[in-house]
């Protein structure tokens, strides 16, 4: 497998800071993207409110939040979230969100997610991570598939978006499957 890394070909992970929340504000205020990420369209909020929200979120004993940054210019382009961290059963719920449309469709979501999974499995030694994705969110499903996810079910009409109950899919990531594709996802295979 190799030593767990916090740096991949194009990205690195670090702790989440207030200035990252300012960039995350773009995501939380985006009419379409916020619904995909938070399961409901968000009421637009100020950068100060996002900073406060992120501070409170990080205080929770079962939450972790890391910034995903570009190596070339040290700009934070996304966030890796972990919630429902179960230290007894060693499972958690994961999320990986890029802040803006410009970062999408370049493989950065897969690379950033793989960085988070590498640390969760190969440094923190968690047994499984679970995720929930809007069934119609094909790009997010593709990132999960490329990083070794297995589909384990779905929740019918579980999210309420733009006035409609929408189905989700549930995925599990396990270290064995992730480690088979780890190097390729991190861009460390050559």
């Amino acid at each position: 497998v190799g030593t767990p890394v916090t740096r991949s070909r194009n990205l690195y992970l670090r702790t989440f800071q207030d200035e990252d929340a300012e960039r995350m504000n773009q995501l939380r205020c985006d009419h379409d993207l916020s619904a995909l990420v938070f399961g409901a369209q968000q009421i637009p909020e100020s950068a100060a409110e996002t900073i406060e929200w992120a501070r409170e979120w990080r205080k929770h004993p079962r939450h972790l939040m890391w910034a995903v940054c570009r190596r070339e210019d040290d700009v934070a382009i996304g966030v890796a979230t972990m919630e429902g961290i179960d230290r007894w059963n060693r499972t958690l719920w994961h999320g990986l969100n890029l802040f803006t449309q410009e970062s999408r469709a370049k493989g950065l979501g897969t690379e950033g997610f793989a960085l988070a999974l590498d640390y969760i499995f190969n440094e923190m030694h968690y047994r499984a991570t679970y995720g929930e994705i809007l069934a119609s969110n094909v790009p997010a499903r593709r990132i999960s598939e490329k990083t070794g996810a297995e589909y384990v079910g779905g929740r019918r009409r579980a999210w309420f978006i733009h006035g409609r109950g929408e189905d989700t899919v549930l995925i599990v990531q396990r270290p064995e499957r992730f480690n088979e594709v780890r190097a390729a996802c991190l861009g460390l295979d050559n």
Partner: protein, 170 residues
């Protein structure tokens, strides 16, 4: 305890008092440590954690009947979605008439009193649980592999869900 009174006449369920939670907490932790952890509680902490958890989250916690030594409830009541999740805190997977009555009262409470459009349950992988879910009109929607570690080894959690129309025509 105080009896809950709703339009749906959920006579079976008794709202658990803070004293009930204090009294039951050590037993719940002993029997259900891993399961409580999966429910985002942190055993073996103080029973005050359970009381605070209820206050902060707004979860409904019930004694299924007087003198019961286990708890059930509705958690994650999301009025916007609107959806909710059955909470079933007992180590005993056997389902008798009282357990069945309590389970159906909980789901009825969710649909008919709280106006939920979806009620779900994450249960142990036992035939008795599958039958109970089916009685409430629930379908098996998924599985969370390796969710629990316990004396029997690793266990999966099974996800069941019912939509309002499935509850009504069960």
């Amino acid at each position: 305890v105080s009896t809950i009174s709703t339009e749906a006449d959920v006579r079976t369920l008794l709202l658990a008092s803070d004293d009930d939670l204090r009294s039951l907490w050590p037993q719940l932790v002993h029997e259900l440590g891993g399961y409580l952890s999966a429910l985002y509680l942190l055993p073996p902490h103080d029973p005050a954690d359970l009381i605070a958890w209820r206050r902060v989250t707004g979860h409904f916690l019930f004694l299924p009947y007087a003198d019961a030594r286990w708890l059930c409830g509705l958690m994650n009541v999301d009025e916007r979605t609107p959806a909710s999740e059955v909470l079933w805190l007992t180590a005993d997977a056997r389902v008798g008439p009282r357990e069945r009555e309590a389970f159906l009262a909980l789901v009825r409470f969710g649909f008919e009193s709280l106006g939920m459009e979806r009620v779900e349950w994450r249960s142990l992988s036992a035939e008795s649980c599958a039958e109970l879910a089916k009685a409430a009109g629930m379908r098996r929607e998924g599985v969370f592999p390796l969710a629990l570690v316990g004396p029997p080894g690793e266990q999966d959690l099974i996800l069941y869900g019912a939509l309002r129309e499935e509850w009504e025509r069960r």
